[in-house]
Amino acid sequence: MSLVIKGLNKHFENSEKATLNEIDLEIESGEFVCIVGASGCGKSTLLNLVAGLEKPTGGKILLDGEEVNGPGADRTVMFQEHGLFPWLNVIENVKFGMKLAGVPKEEQEKVAMHYLEMVHLQDYKDYPIHQISGGMRQRTALARALTMNSKVLLMDEPFSALDKQTSNRLREELQRIWMETKKTILFITHSVEEAVYLGDRVVALSPDTGRIASIITIDIPRPRHVYSPEFVELRHEIMEQVRGEAV
């Protein structure tokens, strides 16, 4: 047992209905869970609540039995807009969290290089952020998130601001990296294909009720391929469900 969400509610003051309604979800350690839903269904709100960037109006979030009470390094977020610091270069950005945690310099260098190699950016380590492409920025953000060694890695549509080709490439790499590292990941996306490709389980949120519409276990063995018949079939099935909910 790792991350437990119990009866979670979020009702913004200025909105008529609750954004999130009685959300119950348990995420095992080492599990890759994807949350899908149309825009406005509250999936990013759910991530912000788990991250501690927002407070729930009801319910609880427990991480290894401890209640979440504000943001922390055990729940690092990788954002849609990379969130890298423009005053630091690539490797300095990757080291940032370790620097905050007071990790010794040599160790920072070693760990940073390890993850930069994992995302194939070792040759760009001294580049300023504005000189690398959008895809490379997300790779840097991924490397930075991985160095944190968080209990749960939260990913808020990390590839959706990229062009299709780059986004596909990065999700392939994320699949490989997850197979290597077995991090616990909560991944938010609006793309059913992405969710089916990456997740052990896909949680579909309903935009109307703010509830979980369905939870589907994806038992296609990894590495997965988007053109395999079982993938296409499952993707289609979930898409129907999500669409049905949205109507």
Partner: protein
């Protein structure tokens, strides 16, 4: 280079204007209109007896001293205003109000407090620039993109780390332009203070020119005041500003 040519043209036009208006048509009296040649002559005279250097040096030292104190006060109050909601709501409008007060208005107050002394001038400089700096500090921090703070918080940043590693570097470009503006306010306030008192400096040299009815000296000192302002801006603030922006790919 284009700028230099323009300046030469401007000075030549000014000299021509003098020749036509004063020498040829005798529309104005020579003591009422400054002349480039006369200003240059006065420049050489005031340089050779060291007056101009001493005045500029004194003014600059006073300006820098007052400015440094204003920066410290401005940053401190700016941070406080930014940090405490109560001060943001109540003190900031007051500071904004005081900031609209022309610095020369502080002179009578300052003389009553400190007499005709250097301290009186420093006080005017500080009051003239500290508040603009606190407003810019507050704005610079407010304009930081929220994602930087979010990213740092989810990497476990403490409040102190937040200020040192995120808020300070993220607000730096805007902070520098606020400090630059603060300097221009300080320099103006300095002149307001100096013309009212008798300590040796550019302001006093300016007033001496008036007392001697020497319009060329008045003009010369004005040119020097502008030149010092420009040099400080171009050689210090703009250099720092450009370096920071270039590093971040913003220039």
């Amino acid at each position: 280079m284009g700028m230099l040519i323009f300046l030469v043209i401007l000075i030549l036009a000014w000299q021509g204007f003098y020749w036509v208006g004063v020498d040829l048509l005798e529309l104005w009296k020579p003591y009422a209109v400054p002349e480039p040649a006369g200003v240059a002559k006065r420049f050489v005279e005031l340089c050779s007896d060291g007056t101009l250097f001493e005045a500029t040096f004194n003014s600059l030292m006073r300006g820098v001293a007052g400015y440094v104190i204003a920066v410290i006060i401005g940053i401190a109050t700016g941070l406080l205003i930014n940090h405490f909601k109560y001060l943001q709501k109540n003190l900031k409008p007051v500071v904004l109000g005081i900031q609209t007060l022309p610095s020369v208005c502080w002179v009578p107050f300052s003389i009553l407090w400190f007499g005709l002394s250097t301290n009186a001038i420093l006080f005017v400089v500080i009051m003239g620039s500290a508040f603009s700096i606190s407003i810019s500090v507050d704005n610079a921090i407010k304009n930081i993109q929220p994602i930087y703070a979010k990213a740092a918080l989810t990497m476990g940043a403490s409040r102190k780390q937040m200020y040192l590693n995120v808020i300070f570097p993220a607000s730096l470009p805007e902070l520098i332009s606020g400090l630059k503006q603060g300097w221009s306010f300080a320099w103006r306030a300095l002149m307001a203070g100096e013309v009212m008192t008798t300590s040796i400096g550019l302001g006093q040299t300016l007033i001496m020119g008036r007392d001697l009815a020497d319009i060329n000296q008045v003009m010369l000192v004005m040119v020097v005041i502008v030149a010092v302002g420009i040099i400080i801006d171009k050689c210090i603030f703009s250099v720092i500003e450009k370096r920071i922006l270039k590093k971040r790919g913003l220039a």
